[in-house]
Amino acid sequence: MIAEDLGSIDDAELIRRSRRDPEAFAGLFDRHAPAMRRYVARRLGPSLADDVVSDTFLTAFRRRDRYDSGHPDARPWLYGIAARLISRHRRVEIRFYRALVRTGVDEIAEPYAERVDDRVAAEQAGLAAALAGLSAGDREVLLMVAWADMTYEDVARALGIPLGTVRSRLHRARARTRLALGGSNPVTTREESLDG
């Protein structure tokens, strides 16, 4: 089963197969788990990320019979499940942001990062302060766009919210991050630059 070339079939087909052959679901894991692990680790650190990713796929597996096969890409569905699991660890996420603001050290990037210069460090502390201050819903939209490379439509589907809400949440969140970065750049207000 693993040996079969899964490259040519889309997620919806893979999920459909897994209804009859549950272990086919592992193909979805191979395809999306590494990127999701990176995404979650950027928010919650590596050890929690392992559990969140595993729980996400286990939850998805349980709900696979309700997957809307009209969507060939399962990423929004998976990240929507992950978002709910991440939200259970909101305090952990915010603690990392606040610790960076307080100490100047980012515990999440630090194990991998080269030393960052002062300007970058100040920017990151500003972002961390902004992220810590956002509402959970606004933060979710912002990070899905910035760190999971989702389109507005993807985010709307993932979170089960209207497209207009995605735009307004993103608008609000970016106003905060721009403020934290100390000024505005007119270019950045063009939404189209990220929509895709």
Binding site: A33, R38, D51, F61, R62, A109, A146, W147, T188
Partner: protein
Amino acid sequence: MDDLRTLRAWRAEVPEPGPEWVVPERRRLLTRMRERRRTLGRRLLVVGALGTAAALAVVVLRPQPQVEVPGIVSTAPIVRLDSGVVLARAAEVAGGRESAQVPLPTQWHYTRTLDKQPNADTTKTVEQWLRYDGRQAASYDENGDLSVGPEGDPRDPGDDDLSPQQYDAKLRALPTDPVKLLAKITADPHWIRGAREKGVPHRVPPAAIRGYHVIMLYLSRYGSMPPRLESAMFRALALIPGVRIEQGVRDAAGRAGLGVWLETDEDRPSRRYTVLDPVTYRYWGTRTVWLRDEFLGRKDVPALPKGSVWSTALVASTIVDRPGDRG
């Protein structure tokens, strides 16, 4: 500076993991998927490939041992009892129980089960809360945190399991005359249809065998069964040819009870006992003993050598108000 670009660059060092992460994590996911199917799935373990498949969910995950066979458990001397006498006594005791209250749809059925796989050194404890209406399940995760699942049907497609509420509704609809009871159970289309799983040929066992397994399944769900019905279950069991009862059969908790099994014409590598409390006749667990080597996949090394034992024990089964409560 573009705020989004700055944000994208932040923590960008966190790497995407490679195969050294994917391979063990995929294995972990598969184990958890199978485990779930094993605990929730397939209630009616009929004879044939199904029972073995369920038992081997963990076995096949591990590399097969080349030479040594997993510790063969010596079987204590067993004493065959007169099943008619034992079942009549069981019917009497069960009929004298107090009847239980019908739970609310929002209450939870809590179970704690022990599972000792044939090749495992340790006994695993599985705690689970299933909402009475079957629409939500909860359990403790690996970190010891209570994890309450999403609302919805937690079953796999093709699963023949029912919610606690559906079980109780089914039970309440049964007659308490043993002959009528057995007839009704064996005619129940739900158990004739049964569970379906890919790769497992579907076949409907003969009525008597099916009746035996359904009664055992119902007895394992004690707690809310009306006493007169439980009593009738034992009397109905006495009507099925080939029901055998042995003394001193142990469940996964090490409790020695009455081992009930069904002798059929079929030559099977293993024998599955349902273990009952010898005093209250309540369901305790199961014990499956391999009477000869069973080969699966590899033809040279038996997956389950003669003497292998798979046992389970239901050590708690009660209705509670909230997931996490243990009653």
